[in-house]
Symmetry: C2
Subunit: 456 residues, 2 copies
């Protein structure tokens, strides 16, 4: 359905902000062809978030491999007022454009923290600049959702969480990638069929209130559905009266796969529905809950003794409603200029950055849990700590097969398990220790001093 999501499909070079293209034109016009390095990182984690689960790398790399400018797109640019006086060389450059750079990145499913580069691009200045917007939109969004999913899955304490939010997503493409990212973050599947097909995710579905309402009475609706799906029916109980509907459900016996609660006091209802089902020998019939759930409600229900086996989570998960934007940025850290490696940093008071190409090293405790991270200059060695950024693309080509989605999901599960509990508290989690290396701090101080003298 969406071209860009298929391997090999062309992706438009126009999928960017205009200033990326005007800057590219200015670099070319001023013969600035040198290579530059940009790092993508999140300055501050959103409120209540104490870690990130990285996601979206596969789509980011697919974009870099398939990016080009069609004749029609170039004609469009040529017609824009801003490009009226520009040299034809610029359009010729775009016609031959392909991404030729190198990318280092954390694998999807990696647990990461504020300030840590999740991805680094080294490429000719123009290329590195043009790709900024799409890379940010992709990594910001999927990381946002994988992170939220990990919190919800943590709160569900082993019970399955299913992504249910397509209808409230920011359009249907957002729904597809929300389902993907939620799966990496630990969900067991999604209600989104297109996402299921595209990424081979388990898909789940029950029935809606409208189905019950379409029949003259509830029992007729239940019978009609069960007759059609004798082995996989989950009956929705709350269209009229949940407890009454649960009693009707017992007529189907142990073959009934499940029931769903979608409103009311779900803790109390789940206990009573469980009792009704069990009294009919339906111990195997699962109870699913849905309806504006989030990690806090799930944690409370479970600690109150709710008898719920599965959670369907929509809006709160699929839009990360309490923190719906991840502030990832993409900052210039180095320019290879006249055969020098020039470290670069932004000095604006509230948005200053760290210069140089970096590596993130993760130190573990003797019990294999994560202890702290060091952000260092790329050529430092902090072993036996583990370096998290790997080279994934060279000369615009993938270096290795990317991990499959199940591998990324497993990595997220392992990584979050290695994160000590105090960093995973739903409320006011502790801040995981991340420090810059001494060498990086010293380099930065020297550069600050140099810039202070040269620019004013």
């Amino acid at each position: 359905m969406i071209e860009g999501s298929k391997e090999g499909a062309r992706l438009s070079g126009l999928a960017t902000d205009l200033y990326q293209l005007t800057m590219a034109a200015a670099y070319l016009a001023n013969e600035r062809h040198e290579r530059a390095s940009f790092e993508l990182f999140v300055r501050r984690l959103p409120e209540q978030r104490s870690y990130l689960v990285v996601a979206g790398l596969e789509q980011a790399l697919s974009y870099l491999r398939n990016l080009s400018f069609s004749d029609e797109e170039i004609e469009y640019l040529r017609g824009l007022q801003v490009f009226a006086g520009i040299s034809p060389d610029f359009f010729e450059y775009l016609r031959n454009f392909q991404f030729t750079g190198e990318v280092w990145a954390m694998a999807e499913g990696t647990v990461a923290f504020a300030g840590e580069p999740l991805l680094r691009v080294t490429a000719p200045m123009t290329e590195a600049q043009i790709v900024e917007t799409y890379l940010l939109a992709t990594i910001n969004f999927q990381t946002l959702i994988a992170t939220k999913a990990a919190r919800i899955v943590e709160a569900a304490r082993g019970r399955g969480v299913i992504e249910f939010g397509a209808r409230r997503c920011h359009g249907f493409e957002a729904a597809i990638y929300a389902a993907r990212a939620a799966y990496i973050g630990g969900c067991i599947g999604t209600s989104n069929v297109e996402a299921g097909k595209m990424f081979d995710l388990p898909v789940f579905g029950t029935a809606a209130h409208s189905f019950t309402m379409a029949f003259d009475n509830e029992m007729d609706a239940f019978r009609a559905y069960f007759r059609t799906f004798p082995e996989s029916t989950t009956l929705l109980l709350d269209t009229y009266d949940t407890i009454e509907a649960a009693r009707m459900a017992t007529q189907f016996g142990p073959a009934l796969r499940g029931v769903r609660l979608d409103s009311g006091d779900m803790t109390a209802l789940s206990i009573e529905v469980r009792r009704i089902l069990d009294a009919s020998g339906m111990q195997g019939t699962k109870i699913m809950a849905s309806g504006d759930l989030d990690e806090f409600k799930i944690a409370r229900m479970l600690s109150d003794g709710a008898r719920i086996d599965l959670f369907g989570v929509g809006t709160e998960l699929s839009t990360s409603r309490d923190a719906p934007a991840l502030g990832g940025v993409y900052k210039l850290v180095e320019v290879d200029y006249n055969h020098r490696h020039d470290p670069k940093m932004k000095m604006s008071r509230d948005k200053a950055t760290y210069p140089m190409r970096k590596q993130v090293w993760r130190h573990s405790s003797s019990d294999e849990t994560f202890a702290s991270d060091t952000i260092a200059i790329e050529d430092e060695d902090h072993s036996p700590a583990e370096p998290l950024l790997k080279r994934v693309m060279s000369n615009g080509q993938l270096i290795d097969r990317l991990p499959g989605l199940n591998e990324s999901r497993l990595r997220a599960a392992e990584q979050t398990a290695q994160l000590p509990a105090r960093f995973k508290a739903l409320d006011n989690p502790a801040v995981y220790p991340v420090a810059y290396s001494e060498k990086l701090e010293a380099t930065r101080r020297a550069l600050l001093e140099r810039l202070a003298h040269s620019t004013v």
Copy 2:
């Protein structure tokens, strides 16, 4: 770049929740072929929102016209466990599937309120059900962003607002439709080039900090950019020192189109920068502000005397960050069953609905401002009030050409202008009066009574 956005491109029937397809299968298996009516409405407006600006109808109707199931998609469904025992008739039905229904809707740009149907689908039960998820994702999202844009544009009191948020959107398709919806809501354009091309929106761009940083000093960067774009350069001033950079900018004289402030105390900075520019005869050089702006910050800056001509608004606008999900729902209101029109409603305590196909009537005051709305049964006549729902699709085909984007944007501007100021306050706006008609209330009471007797 995105197939679904092009007229006539096929849209996948899998772009839905699994339960829509299982319900469709159950309807077919139980020979329930009757027509049903569903209405899409927003139960409660998000916090701080007092009205909606409807958007997304064009994409919703394009989806309905181009929806089908390919052989590959049908094979995928056939392979799912849940459909293992289903009759082949279901797959044959999908193979021939097209949407044949009727749609009534509010035009894009219409101001609407909680409880009001924004769109109604009447179609054979299975068709009406399958399309729910995509319609909701589309209308919810674009209406969310158009509404947020209208608030921000209101706060900017006539100054231009440009949509800048692609990098924080929920993926790049979300960015494209955010730009479209923001334009309907009153923005003057976007930084998103792909959206600009797709919808013929004005595109805007300046330069990034990285551009300045890529040169040995700031003045070199400014010169390089200005040389390339002598007629359309907006210099970014805050990479090192904003006031110092403003002084450098005066070297380019009145030909300099604009400057941009992106951090710091922008009210104070804008006043000082304005003074510096004016002292060099650069009264025509515009000052743009950007950097985590929202309607409240903009209102405060302007009331504090900021000298800003243009606002670039990103994350807060393009993700509607303070209220990132619109809770639009799609509810069954009538089934044409055995030659009867059966009104339908949901009774769950906290989610009860109103039955019957409806019309929304808008009453205006003598000064042409909006006074109140009435939600009535479709055949009631409340003229001279204006009926807001029009029939836009019949037998799956558009009835008329849809309004162009500029027409929708103009409608939004006119409608918000007709909304009295007390309903547009940024903080604690008054609640616009919307009532159900007496006839609708009476019909609902009668149905409630009937259901109370029949279902238990």
